[in-house]
Amino acid sequence: MHAARNIALCTKDCVCLFVCPTGATDTENGQIDFSKCLSGCRLCVDACPSHAIYLVSSNYPKPQKKETEVKDSLFDLAASKVKQESMAKALASESDDPVFRQLCKSVAMSNHIMAEDCYREAGYILPQSDAVRSLLKDLLAKEEGKADFPADAVRKLLEKL
């Protein structure tokens, strides 16, 4: 578990610099140096007067079990949202009216977000979960060798997650 800074809340009181035993809070980019941060220390979290520092978990509890029928109905809805996204994109690309394209683009974005949310609740909320690992393995087995498939990215993800 390491600390992180929400830069939108930080009011530069700099108490974190004062309390941090390792200097992890003193960086050029405004974010905490995770590699220097002591797991679970939380001195800066408690000291920050603007509540701009919080802890990020390294280990999450196992996701709650998703029943197959719940997962299926969410995947069905996501499929419909993705179809609508593709339709809206097609309508936009076939029109030369900037106002109609703006409408279609908004509808496409909206549907993409709804599809993502369905997957999130269908058991894909944590990238470190077994569900994501098995999805990545399936994709690698299926698409390996196909032109432009980023196989190295998938391997790296399996290594890092």
Partner: protein
Amino acid sequence: MEDDMREMTHGELAAMCTNLQKACSKQLRSEEAQLFGLLAAFYEEGREKQEGCGYQDLLDTINEDLASGYQRANAVASKNQDRGSLRALVWGEKVSKLLKSLLVRYEKQKNSLLDGTNVYVCEICGFVYVGEQPPAICPICKVPSFKIQAVQKEAI
């Protein structure tokens, strides 16, 4: 033990991967986020095209979700007392109803509906807003307005 994964289209995998990309960003895992971004871009490139579909086809698909998709999913999620899924379904159904009414209004008013005003999309739930300024908080998911993005009119 994971049950067998069902076949997913490229478009579906694109949404799955951007979902995981965002999840990594939230955990400040920027390298993993970037890798999921690459994977999402690959599937977006291969997205199944819906060429030649009409405006009415789009409306019909929304109507189908509203008439049966949400009912089915809500019944199953209630039966299993799955609060997370019920939450997503509440947001999604509201957003879909608003999308439907927006598309119906556009059919009647055409470009006058959007001329001289702005269009915004909530990054969190997909709520679409037509007006000068977005609301201070999203009426559907209650996120503050800095998460509600303007969609530009693009000249060809």
